[in-house]
């Protein structure tokens, strides 16, 4: 069975923008995936790291135990995101265990690049105090200077890497 086509990008953008606005209107905050990942990360560290995480200020302020790190709306948002994507993927026949990669790239290379990219993004999002959703979708939409600084820096770097991207992905 073939997958259903994707949504028109402009319509998708309007829906996404409406959702971010709803988030502001109902919770006083935008949407920030970084926070979900951070709380989960700290919960994992609390489970594995003994007393050490509580001696590291950045981890301790997120949660001083597994429960306190997980008992945060950001975790619910992350779980909701996973669930929403899963639901739509199933509905549109795209729910499939696979590695999405260019044909010329091996699975090993693709996963290595994914891991490297993830580490860079994780570190960078912490440095920038938010990810693309938090700083650009939420912050920049309210004309926050910080949001635009992060977004332009991100996009600018990514586009400057176009040649590298072409070599990797083509």
């Amino acid at each position: 069975m073939t997958a259903r086509p994707h949504l028109n990008p402009y319509v998708a953008g309007v829906l996404l923008g409406g959702l971010v606005f709803l988030a502001f209107a109902l919770t006083q905050n935008g949407i920030c995936t970084f926070s979900s990942v951070r709380h989960f990360d700290v919960a994992l560290l609390q489970a594995l790291g003994g007393r050490h995480p509580n001696h590291v200020g950045y981890f301790a302020m997120t949660g001083t135990s597994v429960l306190s790190a997980l008992n945060h709306p950001a975790i619910s948002m992350g779980l909701g995101l996973l669930g929403g994507a899963m639901l739509v993927a199933w509905r549109h026949r795209r729910l499939k265990l696979e590695v999405l990669r260019p044909d010329a790239m091996t699975v090993r290379t693709r996963l290595l690049l994914a891991a490297l990219g993830g580490a860079l993004v994780g570190f960078g999002a912490a440095m920038a105090r938010g990810c693309l959703a938090g700083q650009f979708l939420s912050g920049a939409s309210l004309l926050s200077l910080g949001g635009w600084i992060v977004a332009l820096s991100l996009m600018g770097t990514a586009f400057l890497m176009a040649r590298v991207v072409r070599r990797i992905w083509n």
């Binding site: 994707h6 949504l7 028109n8 990008p9 998708a12 953008g13 996404l16 923008g17 409406g18 502001f24 209107a25 109902l26 919770t27 905050n29 935008g30 949407i31 995936t33 970084f34 926070s35 989960f40 990360d41 590291v56 948002m77 909701g80 995101l81 996973l82 929403g84 994507a85 899963m86 993927a89 590695v99 999405l100 990669r101 994914a114 891991a115 490297l116 993830g118 580490a119 993004v121 994780g122 999002a125 912490a126 920038a128 105090r129 693309l132 938090g134 650009f136 939420s138 920049a140 939409s141 309210l142 926050s144 200077l145 910080g146 600084i149 992060v150 820096s153 590298v164 992905w169 083509n170």
Partner: protein, 389 residues
């Protein structure tokens, strides 16, 4: 009355409500991301390679939509923008963090949101990306001690684009909308399509321009208009005089170096030159803007005390500043006349009337202090998600 944003803290089970709201918002977010195909890293890579700009179109349209809804809502008096939380603007950490995320996006084709969406549709590259991000975050936390000064530094003087450029909010929104539409046209051209032949594009573009013009023409609420919305909640503070403090309260807080105190003198310049309180600033044209910017960028909250011999003037300025979300705002009861009366009985060597010492304050009984001057965190600064600041 301004209805939005909702105050979930006022509900019976705020944490549960916040969890449920977050879950619902996350479900919608994930659904749209997957439906738009943003969980497919190849589409991000295609955007960077300038072959298929779908993912960029989604993001930019989303930002424009939120911007127009928020500022239009504010123009119409439905939404109080000052109660929305936005992450603070640290310039160089933002630049560096953005660069690192840009590199990560180029290598992997993912950001955190799209990776979660990919993981939701069982794409292993998304899952491995997320595992990598956990490691990256962990490394940041472990190494932060070595660059904490950098991370906490370079706080932007202006927190918003309009104030940074000296533009009105409305003009900025219109400029942003037009720039966004121009970018869409460029992207469509690059892809070899004719956007002006697309009904969807024309519809959305026209509505965006119309909304932005409305924001510009209607303008943002003036302090006087905002006061009408918040009057019911704030007038009682004036009526029961709980924001009026006496001289002793001011003097006590002024002596504490840990507490921030800004004293604003509303009297005429000659009276100010003849005598004013320690550290007071004269209320001149431009002072309001400077004060608001200072309070916005301050790391810790401060108390603001208005000094005037004309109480009606003090109340008017109090209402105006309160409408612009200045918190910890007080009025010195009785102005300078009451101040001089309060300390007329002091007979100490080297007594400074503008800055009474601890020794002078000790001559007054404890019940003489009203203890009304308190400095509390701002109501707007309560981040729900991005809490690491």
């Amino acid at each position: 009355m301004t209805m939005l944003p909702l105050e979930s803290a006022a509900l019976k089970h705020p944490l549960l409500v916040n969890h449920l709201l977050a879950l619902g918002l996350g479900l919608g977010f994930g659904a749209v991301l997957e439906w738009a195909g943003l969980g497919d890293a190849r589409r991000q890579a295609a955007a960077l390679d300038r072959r298929d700009f779908s993912s960029l179109k989604v993001l930019l349209t989303a930002v424009l939509t939120t911007c127009l809804l928020a500022f239009l809502g504010s123009s119409l008096g439905w939404l109080d923008l000052s109660r929305l939380h936005v992450a603070p603007s640290h310039v160089w950490p933002g630049v560096l963090g953005g660069m690192l995320m840009g590199l990560g996006l180029a290598f992997s084709g993912h950001c955190l949101s799209t990776a979660l969406a990919a993981a939701g549709s069982l794409k292993l590259d998304g899952l491995v990306f997320l595992l990598g991000s956990l490691v990256g975050l962990w490394l940041f936390g472990e190494s932060l001690w070595s660059f904490k000064g950098f991370w906490n530094g370079s706080v932007a003087q202006h927190s918003s684009l309009p104030s940074a450029f000296g533009w009105s909010v409305g003009f900025t929104v219109v400029a942003f909308t037009l720039a966004g539409l121009a970018l869409f046209l460029l992207m469509e051209r690059q892809e070899g399509t004719k956007p002006l032949a697309s009904r969807t594009f024309l519809w959305i573009g026209s509505m965006a321009v119309a909304a932005s013009l409305m924001v510009w023409i209607k303008g943002q609420p003036t302090p006087e208009q905002t006061w009408k919305h918040i009057r019911a909640e704030n007038q009682p503070l004036l009526d029961n005089r709980s924001v009026f403090i006496n001289a002793l309260d001011w003097a006590k807080v002024n002596l504490d170096p840990k507490l921030g105190l800004i004293t604003v003198d509303l009297r005429p310049a000659p009276a100010f030159e003849a005598f004013h309180l320690d550290g007071a600033r004269l209320w001149v044209p431009g002072a309001e803007k400077k004060l608001l910017a200072e309070l916005e960028n301050a790391a810790d909250p401060s108390a603001v005390v208005l000094v005037a011999d004309d109480e009606a003037l003090a109340v008017q300025v109090w209402q105006r500043l309160r409408a612009q979300k200045v918190s910890n705002l007080y009025i010195l009861e009785g102005g300078m006349a009451a101040w001089k009366q309060q300390f007329s009985s002091i007979h100490l060597d080297h007594f400074d009337l503008a800055k009474p010492s601890a020794e002078a304050l000790a001559t007054f009984p404890p019940e003489a202090f009203t203890q009304r001057l308190k400095i509390e965190p701002s109501r707007a600064a309560s981040p729900l998600y991005c809490t690491a600041h």
